[in-house]
Structures are given as structure tokens and as C-alpha cells.
């Protein structure tokens, strides 16, 4: 395994819309920029499958711009530790990258929120965004019967994409009430493009019933999904399907910001108007600062990239657009708030932690994430609590209180090859907080 050292003025983590926009802005303002991303492609999850030549105009434009900007892009590189204050380690298929930076921009994106209910661990239950992303990369979906359920505008985008790929989408069940969703839809005229986007999807989805105030309660099947039972709170019914695409809106990926010591407020990374976090020279943009989608992330990424390059006036020129997207983030948050009934879906024997197969009944004997870790191994498997963490946060109100390196499972060689202990930075922080 080889260690590769790379010095940059600006390192960007994440090559989705926020990361690409940030990297372009910093590079176009004369900075030496490197981008690391854990996937083999550019564009993050939202622009997955888009290339500079594809029909997706905005994604194509930005990916093309990144390629022309002289930014070094490191794909297949997973950031897993920050051993000292201006160094980040990333694992690649060939070894470890030691990235030193003067300014760091975290554009780590979001993931889908999953909630446990009986049968949710059966193969064929997937996140709507996840299933759609895989379909874009060749997952066979033609003529398969799909029920889309959960919450958030991603359900519509996923149902639209799956239908276009030849799936038979029988139902789109949104847990939020119709009134909430309607108010959100009525407010969309304020945001450029969103209304058209919505109208286009609605037209293409004609024939797929979009039902609000409905949610899944049970999945059944012998070796994989065969049917799902849904409810509207008073009546339940069963739909036969090959896939249940179910996710409850999005949660931000804040593990790396937490590891670096960035302050978190209400689950999101706290940033200044220039997207500076509480840690000097560390910026954050896109979903980790508030769930708003690609357009919102693009604006935030540009502000962060310009600020990292100290182009303050140009960064300021985006402030009014950014304020509009922050209002959009707030209305999304309100419209797709989770209903309390979803806390009652899991049965005592339902697995909550999928990595360690920890059941709801085991967790009910614990009073915090820490005691759940100690007594049940909940959140201690390979996903390191990324899947069950948001679920137990919703079910029990348990907050994450400890993020430690390595942030992802890495090869032993990746740990032995690095020159300093992974936890050095943390040890110093702990020491200083104790004195």
C-alpha cells in the first residue's frame, strides 16, 4: 500500500453540486484545489449518471466546468480521519492519501432516513433515492412492480425516474398530510424552476396515485419483498410488489464535520454567512448545513468556494439568492415533518440496527446511544450507526455524542501506514477541554 501526499490550498470533500461549485470557484480564483469523493463518478448522488454530454443541462455544465478548472479530482477516495489540524486522510483502492490543506470545504451531502418497521430488512426494501441511483447505473427495474413510500420531494423524483426506466409504480405514499404538502407546493412559485420541475414530474407521473397521509406498516415475503401493508391511520390495505422504495426524507452527513470539531445546531453544521464553520479555515456547504436540494447546494457551494479563495465581494453577491434557498429549506423541513405515528411501527422483534441485528426490545432497556452501544452493540457495526442513528434519534431522542476515527471501515494497512495516531487531534482537543 502506497502513501501519497498532496498539498493543496483548498481541499473539498464531496463531488456533488456543493463540492463541485465550491471547487470551481476556488480554482477559478487562483487556488490549487483538490476534491475527494468516495464514489467512482462525479456529481454526487443527485447528479449520478449525468456526464458533460448528457441531457441534464445543469449537471453537465458544472461537471464540464470542473474538468476545465484544473482541479485535481480524486474519486474512490473515502475521507476517514483528520490526524492533525490541517491534514485529512482518505483511503483509495491503492493506498492512503494524505491531504494537507490551508482551507477545507466540507460538502458531504445527505443520506436517506430509514425508519424500522416489520419486514424492512428484507431484500427489495430500498431507499427511493438509492434505488433510483442504482437504476441509473444498471439495476434491472423494467416491468418490476414498485411501491414508493416515506416522505419528501425525493419520492416524486424517484417515482418519476423509476417509471421512466420501465418500472410499474403502483402507488406513491407520502406520510405528510395533504394540507402540509399542498401549502409547500403553493409556495414553490418563489423558487426558479421548482414549479416547472414539479409540473413536469406530475405530468409524467399521471396514472400513479400520489396519496398523502399514508405510510407503510409491514412488509412480508419469504426471501425478499412480496407485499407491503400500508395505512392511512384508520384503514389498512396490502399491495403486491417486487420493490418497496421507502425513505423518510434526508439526514445530513455530519460525521466528518463532527470529527473536525465543527459546532452542530439542530442536527446541522452551524455556519457563518460565508459558510465558515466554528473551526477556523473549515467551511461547509450544501445539505450538511440544511436540506435544500441541488439548486440550494450550488449557491452555497459557490459562496464557500469564493470565501475560501478570499473573494469576499463575489461571495457576497450570492447572499440574496442564498437567503431565498434558506427559506426553501425551512419550508421543506416544515412540510415533510415526520408524524408521531411512525414511532409506533416497529414491533419488539423488529431489527433497528441492521449491522448488528439489534431488536427494538433490546433497545427499550437502554436510556442513551452510549448505553445502547455498550449493552447491545447498536450502531457499532460497519455502517457505524449511519442507518440506525437517525432512527433511534427519532424513536428515542438519543443524540450522537461521539464520532471517532476511522469514520468508515478501512483496511488495517491504511491504519498502520499513516505517520501519526488517528486520534491525536481528538486527544489534544479532549485534553484542552478538560483543563
Amino acid at each position: 500500500m502506497a502513501n501519497q501526499r498532496l498539498q493543496s490550498d483548498v481541499v473539498v470533500v464531496g463531488a456533488g453540486p456543493a463540492g463541485i461549485a465550491a471547487a470551481c470557484m476556488a480554482a477559478e480564483n487562483g487556488r490549487k484545489v483538490s476534491v475527494v469523493d468516495n464514489s467512482p463518478w462525479l456529481g454526487g448522488q443527485i447528479w449520478r449518471g449525468a456526464t458533460a454530454h448528457s441531457a441534464h443541462g445543469l449537471a453537465g455544465h458544472w461537471i464540464d466546468r470542473l474538468k476545465k478548472s484544473g482541479v485535481s479530482v480524486m474519486s474512490n477516495a473515502t475521507a476517514f480521519a483528520a490526524p492533525s489540524s490541517h491534514v485529512l486522510l482518505a483511503e483509495t483502492p491503492d493506498g492512503v492519501l494524505e491531504l494537507s490543506w490551508k482551507k477545507l470545504i466540507l460538502a458531504t451531502g445527505a443520506r436517506e432516513r430509514f425508519l424500522p418497521f416489520p419486514g424492512w430488512t428484507l431484500p427489495g426494501v430500498m431507499g427511493p433515492g438509492g434505488l433510483y441511483a442504482m437504476v441509473k447505473s444498471g439495476w434491472p427495474i423494467a416491468r418490476k412492480r414498485v411501491v414508493v413510500a416515506g416522505s419528501g420531494p425525493l419520492l416524486l423524483a424517484a417515482a418519476d425516474g423509476l417509471k421512466q426506466a420501465g418500472a410499474s409504480v403502483g402507488l406513491l405514499a407520502e406520510q405528510a398530510d395533504w394540507g402540509q404538502v399542498l401549502r409547500f407546493g403553493m409556495g414553490l412559485w418563489r423558487y426558479p424552476g421548482k414549479l416547472l420541475q414539479g409540473a413536469g414530474m406530475k405530468a409524467r407521473l399521471l396514472g400513479v396515485p400520489y396519496r398523502c397521509g399514508r405510510w407503510p406498516v409491514k412488509v412480508e415475503g419469504t426471501a425478499r419483498v412480496e407485499r407491503v401493508t400500508l395505512t392511512d391511520g384508520s384503514r389498512s390495505w396490502t399491495e403486491d410488489c417486487d420493490y418497496l422504495a421507502c425513505g423518510f426524507h434526508l439526514v445530513p452527513n455530519v460525521e466528518l464535520p463532527c470529527l473536525l470539531g465543527c459546532a452542530i445546531a439542530n442536527g446541522f453544521v452551524r455556519v457563518s454567512e460565508f459558510h465558515l464553520t466554528s473551526v477556523p479555515e473549515v467551511f461547509c456547504a450544501g445539505e450538511p448545513t440544511g436540506i435544500g436540494g441541488a439548486d440550494s447546494a450550488l449557491v452555497e457551494g459557490q459562496v464557500a468556494g469564493l470565501a475560501a479563495a478570499e473573494a469576499w465581494d463575489r461571495a457576497r453577491s450570492f447572499f440574496s439568492r442564498r437567503a431565498a434557498w434558506q427559506r426553501f429549506q425551512a419550508s421543506l423541513h416544515q412540510a415533510f415533518a415526520l408524524r408521531p405515528e411512525l414511532r409506533q411501527l416497529a414491533a419488539p422483534d423488529t431489527f433497528v440496527c441492521r449491522c448488528e441485528d439489534v431488536r427494538l426490545a433490546d433497545l427499550k432497556r437502554c436510556d442513551s446511544l452510549r448505553s445502547a452501544r455498550l449493552h447491545t452493540r447498536c450502531g457499532m457495526g460497519s455502517c457505524q450507526g449511519r442507518t440506525c442513528g437517525p432512527a433511534v434519534q427519532f424513536l428515542f431522542g438519543w443524540e450522537e455524542d461521539s464520532v471517532r476515527p476511522p469514520l468508515f471501515p478501512v483496511r488495517l494497512a491504511s491504519l498502520t501506514d499513516v505517520s501519526s495516531p488517528l486520534d491525536k487531534h481528538r486527544l489534544e482537543t479532549d485534553k484542552s477541554s478538560r483543563t
Partner: protein, 82 residues
């Protein structure tokens, strides 16, 4: 660039276009589950974006590799852990 490449999933040959993600090729081969959980339950991909580790398979002898973050390469030998 060739228009198809061939990989082997549990000894079965699968032909896919370049750019196909490994998890998709495993699904195209009709193989399920991807892995068996600690209690012996069948599991398959959940998140599709490298978060949940439910799609882990053995790729060219390297255990515990996320098939949703791996592009298919000619001659790849894949074993599921089901």
C-alpha cells in the same frame, strides 16, 4: 471502448455495459441475497450510496467490498456472502 464486459458472480458469467455498478450486475445475475446478517437473515442493498454496507460482497478475493460503489471491470470475480 468495448460495448460489453463480462464478470463472474458466484461462478455465473454476467455480461453488462461499461459503467454498470457491481451491485446492479449482481441483481442482473438474479443472485439474492447479497449477504447474510449476524442472525442469519437475507439482506440486500438498502441505501445504494455507500452508507449502509448491506451490499458488501467479496471482489477478486477482497472481502467486505461495497458493490454499490464499485464499477464492473472485465474479468471481475464476485462472491456474495449469502
Amino acid at each position: 471502448m468495448r460495448d460489453h464486459l463480462t464478470i463472474s458472480v458466484n461462478g455465473k458469467a454476467v455480461s453488462v455495459p461499461p459503467g454498470t455498478i457491481l451491485a446492479a450486475a449482481v441483481a442482473q445475475a438474479g443472485v439474492s441475497p447479497f449477504r447474510t446478517s449476524v442472525c442469519g437473515e437475507p439482506r440486500g442493498p438498502l441505501c445504494g450510496m455507500g452508507v449502509c454496507f448491506e451490499c458488501c460482497v467479496t471482489i477478486n478475493g477482497k472481502a467486505y467490498s461495497r458493490s454499490c460503489l464499485t464499477l464492473c471491470e472485465e474479468g471481475m470475480e464476485v462472491r456474495t456472502n449469502g
